[in-house]
Symmetry: C2
Subunit: 202 residues, 2 copies
């Protein structure tokens, strides 16, 4: 269960767990899993360490819930994109969504799922693997969507859906790094538009 429900009896929680999770997400997003210290997190969340541990378990579980929130929030563009009617629109929507999510002026630059734990110390191994799985799962879902597009004739017969999925997700990961390096939304969008003019690669 997420964010242990405050029971009916006893002193009610003095903070909004949803908003606290949102604040924590931005801290992890900006500083990474290991770079976000408990003091930094709790200060941003506006609660004490005791409240954080009581509500979310520990730092790693807090991050897992943050990742869920990120997937359903800033990362939700993937789900929407996969529902586009054609593979071309799927790819364009993924690139467009990634660019918007990684260059949103009101959020940290880059992608939480990419930059939060790419390389870590001993304390971050599990989160690193969790995020690797998260990224690979995204790639797999795109793969599956493109396979379907090949089956229906939307993509030319003989097209390798795995290769296309790898291509799109590689661009997405690269866009995330570019955004974290200071690239602007406009220049990334121009590049994505150009890439889509050569879609699908073969």
């Amino acid at each position: 269960m997420a964010t242990k429900q405050s029971g009916k009896v006893g002193r009610p929680r003095g903070f909004d767990a949803d908003e606290a999770l949102d604040r924590a997400m931005r801290v992890f997003w900006e500083h990474g899993y290991e770079g976000a210290s408990l003091s930094c997190l709790t200060e941003a969340m506006g609660i004490s360490t005791t409240s954080m541990y009581s509500a979310f378990g520990n730092k790693e579980e807090l991050f897992r819930k943050v990742l869920e929130r990120y997937t359903a929030g800033p990362g939700a563009y993937l789900n929407r994109a996969l529902d586009e009617p054609t593979a071309r629109e799927v790819a364009a929507a993924i690139l467009d969504g990634a660019i918007r999510a990684t260059t949103c002026p009101t959020n940290p630059a880059g992608c939480l799922g990419v930059q939060s734990a790419l390389s870590v110390g001993d304390s971050g191994r599990e989160v690193r693997d969790l995020l690797a799985d998260w990224r690979n799962n995204g790639c797999s879902r795109v793969h599956e969507r493109f396979r379907q597009a090949v089956d229906t004739g939307d993509l030319p017969a003989g097209t390798d859906p795995g290769l296309l999925a790898r291509y799109v997700t590689t661009l997405v990961f690269g866009i995330s790094v570019q955004a974290a390096s200071g690239a602007t939304r406009d220049e990334l969008q121009e590049m994505a538009d150009a890439a889509m003019r050569s879609w699908p690669i073969h």
Copy 2:
């Protein structure tokens, strides 16, 4: 001056500074700047903290020297690629070199310049910015090379060299993340080959 020269007088250094730097590079490469603790570094380097500080200054300066070494070693493919005669060969060599460097079986997966400090805590801000500059510098050099290719007619007139540079470096960064996520050399190479079949995007 790098790795303060051991003077002629006094007790001689009991370790090979070059090899120690190489060991440190692998530790930073695998665990990132903040994730690589002093104890982890010195253990891998085979020296004491005292020797490390005496020879390299501090952790940040050690990393700067490691980055120089990385640029001249595993990252040297960029220089070689920029010397290729045509823009197409430059791009192909960059992608090929990046894939080889990030999936070398005897080295950590991924790119040190990408994953060592994408997002960091307070102690890693300067290194994060250093690496962002390093990445942007790489993009700029590719940009310059493609501009030259446009000038000489190697690339079609009207081609945007900045867009192409952004495209290639985005693929490189994405490849680095893919490699860090477990992607194999073969599947990345297939994708790069396919991308090059649509070169140049426009």
